[in-house]
């Protein structure tokens, strides 16, 4: 089905107009907080719906060419769409529509002491920039939109600037995103200079001719730039600070969608712009993915701040996506195009799935924050009785992220496993060993993620409330629940009928690498590499529902009794069960802290205060078991100290003496003249 190019540009214009109207409208109606809230989020909602249509039309084969030669230097501003860009636009819309709906109700809490007009402006600009980034067709368009996206998100992150730690978190985010931007700028300009053109479509053809040393350097720079946006370890340090600090619908978008644009960049670099590269490119991405996956979930397991736990979990899922990408790159290097496609399909499907369930989880955390005013899991509990619908929706998100059937996380993780398992077709022992360790890392990540979300859901929602605030929680308003329900339904739909997404995804990958992925699928089943692996998600779901229905009937048939009595917990015979007897989040994570003690390097502090008259009576016990952040201590602090010492040395240049400044100008002039001549 050929989609008209003018129809596509109409859809894009509609998207931008709605988002622009939302942005400006929010600013103009700033006087009335309620109007700013509704105009801002309403504009975002409408714009995202148009963006969804635009993306779907692009996936169906629509094309677009917009060129404004005088808008930007070095080639002007160029926008265009192909199937990969369309896929990412669809992903952004799938997360942005619920986020905007959520924002309508959620931002009511900000009325009075925050500028809702500013928030609406930044929110709409953020979404617009994110939608336009995958459409950029040359260097400066891409970088300009990237920068707008980062700035808009920075202002959203520091919305609650009166809260302690938010400004610091925003500052770390600001520095890291610009460090990544610098790497991207350098890489792009180097490649543009080496190939002689700044347009992405030309690079696909010309870049293979560039000399290998430059290609390696460009790859490393772009990988660092995109990796820092994606949150790959060790460039992840901004994620666990910025995502919790932002308002929840913004966290949902940042974690669900913005970091995926780093993935988009990496896919473009590895499979489109630079072409096939040496083995160590794929190996580096694979290893980075394995490390991010395991370390991300390990840090999530010991965190008691619900939103920071979700942020670390995003690092983990980016690791899983990188595993798929790295595998794809290694298959491409080994000339196995069917498997390259398979690994790419797995990675991109996980990208979409993560956008769905991570947004759902962040929205759930936001609902908890809205109802109880705390993010600390040690103060939550019992919410399943006071917020039943939020509880079910958060449970669905937890099941999806733990990769359990019948939800979408299971399908994409199954596909990632299959693409790693077929690696034995490569006949190089080092690569085989690398893949074996990658499989082990993915399995460990998967198991630990399940443990992490048992803890997150169980401690926050189940049993008795651990504080008065949790005890007085109430269900959130319908817009918030509707947004979460939409995402939960998406998770279920993609888990039961993955062929809905696999069909356009397979076509996208075919467009990108030129061969079909080694997989077959129809509405009920999918098969990988002939009969290497089979899965029938629809049948599994039907089987689950069928058996669930049969068992109670069968029990009634054989005459099992139905009587039930409610009483206090038995607890091995202890009376008077209170909330103080419950397991805490810290205690739940204790086995992991012990097993992985080498990694956490936690520092235990125990202060016991005895009664002054007898050491047998204890007044208070204070126990603190703080894990240390190894990357901050080992990598960033020495780097920052080195920069500081260099800056201190350089300060001696600022003597205040006008004559020395004149000499500096002279030297600079002479140097520039020598360079250009």
């Amino acid at each position: 089905m050929a989609v008209d190019s003018s129809f596509m540009s109409e859809l894009l214009v509609a998207t931008i107009v709605c988002l622009g109207a939302g942005a400006l409208g929010a600013l103009l109606t700033n006087r009335s907080a309620k109007a700013a809230r509704i105009v801002g989020c309403g504009g975002a909602l409408l714009g995202s719906i148009f963006a969804l249509g635009f993306g779907l039309a692009g996936l169906a084969g629509g094309s677009l060419r917009l060129y404004f030669p005088d808008l930007l230097p070095i080639g002007g501003a160029a926008l265009g769409i192909d199937r990969l860009s369309a896929f990412f636009v669809v992903m952004i819309a799938v997360a942005a529509i619920p986020a905007a709906l959520y924002g309508i109700g959620y931002t009511r809490a900000y009325e009075g002491n925050h500028s809702l007009g500013g928030m609406g402006f930044a929110f709409n600009t953020f979404i617009a920039a994110m939608i336009l980034v995958p459409l950029a067709q040359n260097v400066l368009t891409f970088l300009a939109l990237w920068e707008v996206m980062s700035l808009a998100s920075y202002f959203l992150v520091i919305t609650e600037h009166e809260r302690e730690g938010t400004l610091g978190a925003g500052w770390v985010y600001f520095v890291m995103t610009h460090a990544g931007f610098a790497a991207l700028l350098l890489g792009f300009l180097l490649l543009a200079q080496a190939t002689g053109t700044a347009f992405f479509s030309d690079w696909h053809v010309v870049a293979v001719g560039v000399d290998p040393r430059s290609r390696d350097l460009v790859f490393v720079l772009l990988a660092v730039g995109f990796g820092s946006k994606a949150g790959v370890i060790p460039l992840h340090v901004w994620l666990p600070r910025a995502h919790p600090a932002a308002p929840s619908h913004v966290s949902a978008l940042m974690s669900g969608v913005m970091i995926k644009l780093g993935v988009y960049g990496l896919v473009r670099v590895a499979f489109d712009w630079l072409g096939a590269g040496p083995i160590w490119w794929g190996g580096m991405i694979l290893v980075a993915g394995a490390i991010s996956g395991v370390l991300g979930v390990l840090y999530a397991l010991v965190d008691t701040d619900l939103k920071r736990l979700l942020a670390y979990s995003s690092v983990e899922n980016i690791g899983i996506i990188m595993l798929g990408l790295g595998a794809g790159m290694l298959f491409q290097n080994a000339q196995l195009p069917g498997f390259t496609g398979l690994a790419l399909v797995a990675a991109l499907y996980h990208t979409l799935n993560h956008a769905a369930f991570k947004s759902l989880l962040f929205m759930g955390a936001g609902a908890i924050l809205h109802a109880t005013h705390t993010r600390n899991m040690e103060n939550l509990g019992g919410l399943i009785k006071t917020m039943p619908q939020t509880a079910i929706l958060f449970l669905i998100g937890s099941l999806a992220i733990a990769a359990l059937p019948p939800f979408n996380g299971f399908i994409s993780e199954w596909l990632t496993f299959q693409s790693l398992l077929v690696s034995f077709h490569i006949a190089a022992h080092t690569i085989n060993l690398l893949f074996t360790l990658a499989i082990a890392a993915l399995a460990l990540t998967s198991g630990l993620a399940a443990a992490c979300f048992v803890r997150a859901f169980g401690i926050s929602f189940l049993a008795l409330p651990r504080s008065a605030a949790a005890g007085m929680a109430h269900e959130v308003e319908w817009t918030i629940r509707a947004a979460m329900a939409a995402l939960a339904l998406t998770c279920l739909a993609f888990g039961i009928a993955p062929s809905l997404i696999l069909a356009p995804l397979e076509t996208t990958v075919f467009d990108l690498i030129g061969t079909h992925a080694d997989m077959k699928f129809d509405l009920s089943a999918l098969a990988v590499n002939g009969d290497f692996g089979w899965l029938a998600p629809l049948w599994l779901a039907l089987g689950l529902i069928g058996c669930l229905a049969i068992i109670p009937l069968a029990l009634r048939l054989i005459g099992a009794t139905n009587r039930r009595r409610s009483h206090e917990s038995w607890g091995c015979g202890r009376a008077l069960q209170t909330a103080r007897f419950e397991y805490t989040a810290t205690a739940f994570a204790n086995p992991f802290k012990r097993v992985f003690a080498l990694l956490y390097r936690s520092v235990k502090e125990l202060d016991v205060e005895f009664h002054p008259e007898s050491r047998y009576f204890v007044r208070t016990i204070e126990y603190c078991n703080e894990g240390r952040l190894i990357f901050e201590d080992a990598l960033y602090r020495p780097l920052l100290r080195a920069i500081e010492s260099v800056a201190r040395q350089a300060r001696t240049l600022q003597s205040g003496n006008v004559h020395s400044y004149l000499v500096y100008i002279l030297i600079a002039l002479v140097a520039l003249l020598l360079l250009t001549v």
């Binding site: 199954w414 082990a440 399940a450 049948w539 029990l555 099992a560 917990s569």
Partner: protein, 312 residues
């Protein structure tokens, strides 16, 4: 015809698993110079529990009442996927071995949540330990699967058994044996047998599975115990049929099915003896020594894969 065999397999798993548990207990009792309970004791227990009123804690939620049904469901669904008697089953295409592992993990997830639901420290402790052990056992399972899939060229259970059945001298293959041992240790860990967890203890510091189901009574306890029995049956069936596929029916003739039934019974009895012997001779490991055991099983599985690669 194949549907009938499918349901026959399901019926065997559903109705023979309490007998398996009873046989293990009887064998252990005999080794400990006791007479032990009758082998059909678990059937009597389940029947008694089904006629008792259930007592539900006030602190719990709908999850508590839902999970026993879910556990039984996942086990029944797994019984449809695992080739118990025959490799030609209609519903075996639903999932491969990785899907099976995740179905088991689904049950573990909900059971751990139930442990936290009652709000007692026992349940929380059991849940915490259970998910830690399940998470640490995952890499071993997947690497062992990689090792077997390498040699079989497929990850679907039917395909693996069919291909292995063509090699009668399979037992002498190093990689295969190593993968078997790794898988066996994981089976012990996942089913809560010694040396990882003691299925007969009720001391708070030594229980893992029992701690999570502490608050269950009546029909819920019956379902949970039955599901645990089915899980053990399925794991042992997998071990027998995957690593020693002699006797598994490759076509669906009545003769082949009878041979498969007899062969399965013999292999399961051997496993019963092995487990009973193992449980009588080793003591339960201290909790924080269990990761060392699992790390050891991971190394064995890794060796299995390396052997498979180098002896290709």
């Amino acid at each position: 015809m194949e549907i009938a065999i499918e349901f026959l397999q399901l019926a065997i798993v559903m109705f023979a698993s309490p007998l398996l548990v009873g046989l293990i207990r009887k064998a252990k009792a005999r080794l400990q110079a006791r007479r032990g309970a009758p082998v059909f004791q678990l059937y009597a227990d389940i029947r008694k529990l089904l006629s008792k009123e259930t007592v539900v804690s006030e602190n719990t939620s709908w999850l508590f009442r839902f999970t026993p049904y879910l556990l039984a469901t996942t086990m029944m669904l797994s019984a449809l996927i695992v080739p118990v008697l025959s490799t030609r089953t209609t519903l075996g295409f639903m999932g491969n071995i990785i899907a099976l592992i995740y179905l088991f993990l689904l049950g573990t997830f909900f059971l751990a949540l139930v442990g936290l639901d009652a709000g007692s420290a026992f349940g929380g402790m059991g849940a915490s330990r259970e998910v830690a052990i399940a998470a640490l056992a995952e890499p071993t399972v997947l690497i062992a699967i990689f090792g077997i899939a390498l040699r079989a060229g497929t990850t679907s259970l039917d395909g693996m058994i069919t291909r292995f059945a063509a090699e009668p001298l399979l037992m002498l293959n190093t990689g295969h044996l190593l993968a078997f041992f790794a898988f066996f240790i994981v089976a012990l860990a996942e089913n809560g047998r010694l040396p990882v967890d003691n299925p007969t203890t009720h001391l708070e510091l030594t229980m893992i599975h029992e701690a999570m189901i502490l608050e269950y009574s009546g029909r819920y306890l019956a379902l949970v115990e039955w599901a645990a029995g089915m899980k053990l049956f399925l794991f042992l069936t997998l071990l027998s049929n995957l690593f020693f596929p002699w006797g598994v029916a490759l076509d669906n003739t009545p003769v082949a099915l009878v041979i498969a039934l007899v062969a399965l019974a013999i292999k399961l009895v051997v496993f019963v003896g092995a487990i009973a012997l193992l449980e009588t001779s080793v003591a339960k490991l201290r909790l924080f020594r269990v990761p060392e055991l699992l790390a050891g099983s991971f190394t064995i599985a890794l060796l299995a894969v390396v052997t498979a690669f180098f002896l290709r």
